[in-house]
Symmetry: C2
Subunit: 702 residues, 2 copies
C-alpha cells in the first residue's frame, strides 16, 4: 500500500501577499499562509458574553479531581461524580442562577455558561449537575413560589437535598402531556395522592433516582374535584436518611448505559403516596384547601407549555456543551493530523502529514467552520435566554421565540457533535479508539443528547410547525388568490420549484458565467440569499401541500401531514442552519483585526458553501442555482479547505483549551516526538553507512 | 407537545389485490399489504451458501456462556472471552479453515460464515477469535510451510498457543510497507535478530498482546547480507508458562478502548530478540543457512502484496459481521417501532405506532434495504473468497479481484453498520441508550471496524486506483485522440459532465414525462444504468483530470492527485454501491415465490432509488437525470417506504434471529404488553365512570 497515497505539495510559508480584491476568493494554498488570526482575540470571541465565567470554570476543572477516570466501574464512577458535585458547591459553582438569598448569584447566563464548560472534565459531571440544579432545583425555582424556595431551594443548591426530575415515563418520553402518573387531591386530609396506575407510567431514565435522590420533582396529572387539570409538578420525598425508599415508593436501577455512567439513572413508581398540599409547585396553578383549582393562565394548553418553557435551560446548555465537545474533538484530531505522518512518495523524503491530504482536509476543516458557527449562534441564544429569565425581556412572544430557537439549535448542535466526534475518532485511526484519547468517551456520553431534553426530530417538527404558523399568519383572512399570487411571485423566473409549477425548457434564474460565479456569485449576500430563500421556499411549498387539510376528515388530514413530515423536519433544519450562518456573519462584523477578519471570513464562507453543497440537489431542482454555479460550489469548498489548512491549528487553538482540558496523549506532542525520533534514526543510519540496501536498488544494479 | 405529531392513517390490512402491471410502482400503502414474503424462504436466502454452518453457530451461541455481560470490568470481560475461545475449541467451531490434520475442516467459506455469527453473542468474542485463528493462526497457515504447520498450527487451533498478530506499529498503521521493526539475519548462529529501533516502531493495538499471547507472528523488514528484502513474517515467542515476558521482550497494555473491551490489546517491543532461522514463515521468501535470499516472486512489490493478500479473510469477515450487526439493530428498532405508541390525535383513540410515522419509516426502512443488499453482496464475496482459497479459482487475477472486492465492500458495510446502529439507537429514544437493549454496545464495538484491517478511506482509494488502472488499460498505447473521442461519446447528449465540456442551454438527455418517469423511468434497467454510468463517468473524469500528471514533476503530480483524492474515494464508493445493487438484483432472480419476489423487488428498488437520491446532485449536474425525473425520485422513495411498511416486521424477522440472539428487552414484546395494560387501564376507568373529566371539556360546558 506504500504507493497508495502520494505526497502533497506543502504550502509555502513564505508566500507573497495576495493582491487586493475579493477577500473570499482563494487562488492558491500558498497565498493563504500570509494573514494569521489573532488567536487570543478569537478566543475572546468564542468564549462570548460570559467569557469570565467560562474562564473561571475552566480554571477550576484543571484540578484532576474533576476528571473522568477511564475504566472505572459504574459504582465507583457514580460515587466520584457525586463527590464532584460537592466540590462544585464548595467552589460556589453550583447554582449561579438561583437568587442570592438561596446561595446563588441571580445570574442565569453565567450559570449556563459555567455549567457548559464542565463537559471538558466529564460529561457525567455536567449532566448530573444539570439534573440537580438545572432540573430538580430549577423546577422548585421556576414552578414553585417563595414558600417552596424557602423550604427547599437552599438545600437543593447546597446538595443537602439531592433530587431527581421525574418527568419522563417508560411509556411517554417526548409526549409529556400524556403521562400516566396521577396526583389526586384529597380535601379531607389536604393531601395529594401520587400514584402510578400501570407499568408504562413508571418514571424512567431519571438521574439521581437509582441511588442519590432524596426527593423528586414529580410531574403528574393533577386531579381535583373529579377534573383533570393536566400535568403539574410536585415535590415528593423519596428516601430516608439511610437511603431507603419511603413507604409507597419503589424503583429500579436503569443499569449500564451507553455513556454518562457517572449518573445513577433509574426508575420510580408510587403506590398512593400522600404528600401535603404545600408540595404542589403552584406558580402556574393552585389548589385551595377545599380543592378548588385556579390559574392565571386559563388555557390548559398554554399553561402546560408555559410550565415546560420554564425549563428550557436544559436545551440551552446542551447546545453549548455539544459545541464545546465538538471543538475539543477537533482540537485533538487536528493537532494529531498536523503531526502524524503516513505514506511517503518513495523518494526518501519525510512522509506526508495527514492534514496535507486533500481528503483529510475535507473531513476536518469544514467541521471547524461548523463548530465556530455554532459557538456564535449559541452566544446569541444564551443572551436571549438571559434576557427572558432575568425578566429584562420577559414577554410571551420572547418566550415563544426562545423556545423555538432552542428547538431549532439543540438538534443541530447535538447531532453535529456526534458527527464531528466520530469523524475525529476515525481520522485518528486506532489511537482514536483508545479511551485515553477521549474521542470515544465523548461520543458515548453525548450520544443521548440527541434524544433527551426533547427528541431532536420532535423538536425540529415543532420548529417546522411554528414556521408554518408564521407563514399562514401572513395570509390570515386573505383570499386563496392572494396566496397563489404570493407563491407565483416567489417562484417567478425559477424553472422548477415543486411538483405543480414546473415549466420545462425555461432558463434557470441565475447570474453570470462560471468565472463570475466563482468570483462573485457565492459571497456573503448570495450565501445568505440561498440559505434564506431555501427556508422560505420549503415552507411555502409545504403550506401549499398542506392547504387541503382543512377540508379533509381528521384522519385524511393526519395522513396528509404524515406524508410531509420528513420534509417539514428538513425545513426546520434549514431554518436552524440559516440562524447559525447569520450568527457567524454577525460575529464577523465585530472583528477589527485584518488577518483575523480574512481568515474567519473564509471560514464563514466554508460553512455557508458546505451547507449549500450539502443541499445542492435541492438548489438544482428548484432552479436556485444553475448547473454551472452549482458545479463550482464543490471546487470552491475544496479551495477554501486548502486555503484554511495553514490556519487549522490556530483555529482549534483559539478555543483556548489547556492541556488539563485536552488530556489526550495523541494531542500532546508525543506523536511529533516519535516522528522526529524515527526520522533521526533513519538519517543516522544513512550517515553511518550501515543502512541496508533496498532490494529494488539491488535489482537495478544487476 | 401533545399536538406535535398527528395520527397517521394506518394501512388497512384488508386491502384489495392490486391490478396487474409493473410490480415496482406502488400506488397506495393499502395495496402493499396484500403480497407477503415467505419468511423462512427469505431466511434461507439471507443465510446464503453456508446457511448450515451459520445455523450451527447460532445454535451454539444460544448458550448464555457466550453472551456479553453488561458492566463487567475490563479484566473480567477479558477472562470471560478467553474462556469463550476455549468453548469454541470444545465445540469444534474454532478453526474450520485449517487442514483436517491440524484440527480444522479445510473449509474456508464455512470458517468465515461461522465466525461472523459470533458477533451476535459478543463482538469481542468474534474479534478475539479472529485474532487467534484468522490472523495469528492464518499467518502460520498462509505464510508458513508444512514445517511450520507441523510445529504450531494444531497448538494454535486448539488454543494451547494463544498468539498475537504483530503487524501494526504505533507509527505505521495502514502503511505496512514502512514499518520500522527489523529482522536481521545472523548467518553465524543461523538466527534472526528481531529489533525495535525506535518508539514509533513498537507494535500496537494487538489483540492477545497485553495478557494472553504466548507468541506472535511479527512483521518486520527482513535484512540479510546488507540488503532489505522488505516486510516478512516471523514467529516470535513472547511469554513463558507463567505469562512473563521472555528476555528482550517488553510491552504495555493499551488500556480501556471505545469498545471490544473483552480483548487484551497491547503494545510489544523487541530488544535484539534472537529466533531460529526456522521461524521465518517462508512460503513467499526463503533465507538459506548462509543468508542467501530467494523467492518465487521476483518483484518485491508483488511479493509484499501477495503476502498481505493471503490475509484478506479479515476483511471478508468484517463485511459479513457488520451486515449481521446492522440487521440485528434493525430487528430491535423495527420490532420496537411496531409496538411503541406515542402521541394521539386527541380523540381518545390509541396513540400512533412509531412505524406509522412517515419520518420514522424514512429512518428505518431504507436501511433494511441496505442490509439486504449487503447480505447478498457478502455471499457472492464469500464464494469468491472460498474459490480462491480452496484453490479452485486461485489465479493472480482472481486474487487481485478478490482484494479489490474486499477493499470496496468492507468500507461500505462497516460504515453502514455504524450509521444503521446509531439511527436505530436514536429511533428507540432513551431505551435505546440502555446497555440492556444492545444498540449502544454494538456501536461501541463495531466503531473500530471502520479503521482496522485497512482504514476505510485508504481501502477505497486502492479501489479507485484499480478502477483508474483498468480504465487507462483500455487505452494503453492509444493516441490522445482516441481517448478524447471516447470521452466525447460518453458524454454525448449530456449537458454538463464536468469542468471542461459544458454546453449551456442544451436539453438534458433524459426520457419521458413525469408520469412516465414514475412508471417506467426508474425500474431495474434504469437503476442499473444510472448507478453504472455514474461509476464510469466519475472514473473517466478523474482519468482526464489526472492525465497531465505524467508530464509533471513528481511534486506537482502528487499535488494534482491530492486535489482529486476525495473524488477518487467517492468513485470507489459508487463502485461498491453498484456491486451491492447488482448482488441484490441477482438474488431476486433466484426467488420463485410471487409474494416474496414482489416485496423484495420493492426493497431492491428502495435500495437503488435511495442511492440515486443520495447522489441526486451529481445526477443533475451531469445531465443524467432531468429535474423532472430527479424530483420524482424522493417521492418514489416515500411511496416505497409506505408500501413496505406493512412488511417491515417480516423483513427483519427473516434474518432468523431467535430471542437468544436478540436479547433486547424492548424487542421482547414487553413494550406491547405495557401498551395494552395502559389502554386497558384507561378503558376500564372510562367504563367505571370514575375517570376524571378533562379540564377542556369542562370549559366547553360553561
Amino acid at each position: 500500500m506504500a504507493d497508495a497515497l502520494i505526497r502533497s505539495k506543502k504550502p509555502a510559508t513564505s508566500a507573497r501577499t495576495p493582491a487586493g480584491g475579493a477577500p473570499t476568493v482563494p487562488h492558491s494554498a500558498a497565498e493563504a499562509a500570509d494573514p494569521r488570526i489573532d488567536v487570543s482575540a478569537v478566543t475572546d470571541l468564542l468564549l462570548g458574553t460570559w467569557a469570565q465565567t467560562r474562564r473561571q470554570a475552566r480554571d477550576m476543572i484543571k484540578d484532576p479531581a474533576f476528571w473522568e477516570v477511564d475504566g472505572q466501574s459504574v459504582a465507583d464512577h457514580r460515587e466520584r461524580v457525586l463527590g464532584q458535585l460537592r466540590l462544585l458547591v464548595e467552589h460556589g459553582a453550583a447554582a449561579r442562577a438561583y437568587p442570592t438569598e438561596y446561595g446563588g448569584q441571580n445570574d442565569n447566563g453565567a450559570n449556563i455558561a459555567g455549567f457548559e464548560e464542565l463537559v471538558l472534565a466529564d460529561p457525567s459531571l455536567q449532566i448530573k449537575a444539570g439534573v440537580q440544579w438545572g432540573l430538580f432545583g430549577a423546577a422548585i425555582q421556576q414552578l414553585g413560589t417563595k414558600r417552596h424556595h424557602d423550604a427547599w431551594l437552599k438545600d437543593a443548591a447546597e446538595l443537602r437535598l439531592p433530587g431527581a426530575f421525574a418527568m419522563t415515563e417508560t411509556g411517554h418520553g417526548s409526549d409529556v402531556a400524556a403521562i400516566g402518573t396521577t396526583a389526586t387531591y384529597d380535601a379531607d386530609t389536604e393531601e395529594f395522592v401520587i400514584h402510578t396506575p400501570f407499568r408504562g407510567a413508571w418514571k424512567d431514565y431519571l438521574g439521581n433516582a437509582a441511588l442519590h435522590g432524596r426527593a423528586a420533582t414529580v410531574f403528574a396529572q393533577l386531579i381535583t374535584g373529579g377534573v383533570n387539570y393536566g400535568v403539574h409538578c410536585f415535590l415528593v420525598p423519596l428516601r430516608d436518611e439511610d437511603g431507603d425508599f419511603l413507604a409507597g415508593i419503589g424503583g429500579e436501577d436503569d443499569g449500564v448505559k451507553g455513556g454518562l455512567n457517572g449518573i445513577d439513572n433509574g426508575r420510580l413508581h408510587f403506590d398512593h403516596v400522600r404528600i401535603p398540599r404545600f408540595n404542589l409547585l403552584d406558580r402556574y396553578g393552585q389548589v385551595a384547601a377545599d380543592g378548588t383549582y385556579s390559574s392565571d393562565i386559563p388555557s390548559p394548553g398554554r399553561r402546560f407549555f408555559t410550565m415546560l418553557g420554564a425549563l428550557v435551560q436544559g436545551r440551552v446548555s446542551l447546545d453549548g456543551a455539544s459545541t464545546t465537545a465538538a471543538a475539543l474533538a477537533l482540537k485533538i484530531a487536528v493537532t494529531y493530523a498536523g503531526q502524524r505522518r503516513q505514506f511517503d512518495s518513495g523518494s526518501g523524503t519525510p512522509e506526508v502529514v495527514l492534514l496535507d491530504y486533500g481528503n483529510h482536509q475535507r473531513r476536518l476543516i469544514p467541521r471547524i467552520a461548523t463548530a465556530y458557527a455554532q459557538a456564535f449562534a449559541h452566544d446569541e441564544f444564551l443572551r436571549a435566554f438571559d434576557g427572558v429569565f432575568s425578566g429584562r425581556t420577559d414577554t410571551p412572544s420572547e418566550r415563544e421565540d426562545l423556545e423555538t430557537l432552542a428547538a431549532a439549535l439543540k438538534p443541530l448542535s447535538t447531532w453535529n457533535a456526534l458527527d464531528t466526534i466520530q469523524e475525529c475518532r476515525e481520522a485518528c485511526g486506532g489511537s482514536g479508539f483508545l479511551a485515553e484519547n477521549r474521542l470515544v468517551g465523548l461520543h458515548h456520553d453525548l450520544d443521548v443528547y440527541v434524544t433527551f431534553e426533547g427528541d431532536n426530530n420532535i423538536l425540529l417538527q415543532l420548529v417546522g410547525k411554528r414556521l408554518l404558523g408564521d407563514f399562514s399568519g401572513q395570509f390570515k383572512g386573505a383570499s386563496t388568490g392572494r396566496l397563489a399570487r404570493y407563491v407565483a411571485a416567489q417562484t417567478a423566473g425559477k424553472v422548477f420549484h415543486g411538483a405543480g409549477l414546473r415549466r420545462l425548457g425555461q432558463t434557470v434564474a441565475d447570474f453570470g458565467s462560471t468565472a463570475r460565479s466563482v468570483g462573485l456569485g457565492l459571497r456573503e449576500e448570495q450565501q445568505h440569499q440561498l440559505l434564506a430563500d431555501r427556508v422560505q421556499q420549503m415552507i411555502t411549498d409545504l403550506a401549499m401541500r398542506l392547504r387541503p387539510a382543512s377540508k379533509l376528515s381528521p384522519a385524511a388530514a393526519a395522513a396528509l401531514f404524515n406524508e410531509n413530515q420528513a420534509e417539514l423536519i428538513d425545513a426546520a433544519r434549514a431554518h436552524g442552519e440559516l440562524l447559525q450562518w447569520e450568527a457567524f456573519s454577525d460575529a464577523l462584523h465585530t472583528v477589527g483585526d485584518d488577518g483575523t477578519l480574512r481568515v474567519l471570513t473564509w471560514l464563514r464562507d466554508l460553512f455557508g458553501l458546505s451547507l449549500i453543497e450539502k443541499h445542492l440537489a435541492w438548489y438544482l431542482l428548484h432552479g436556485r442555482l444553475s448547473a454551472q454555479r452549482a458545479a463550482s460550489v464543490s471546487r470552491y469548498v475544496d479551495r477554501l479547505c486548502a486555503r484554511l489548512r495553514p490556519h487549522a491549528q490556530d483555529l482549534v487553538d483559539a478555543w483556548g483549551f489547556e492541556p488539563e482540558h485536552v488530556r489526550a496523549p495523541i494531542a500532546s506532542g508525543a506523536e511529533s516526538a516519535r516522528q522526529e525520533e524515527a526520522i533521526a534514526y533513519y538519517a543516522e543510519l544513512r550517515t553511518s553507512g550501515a543502512a541496508p540496501v533496498p532490494e529494488k536498488s539491488l535489482k537495478k544494479k544487476r
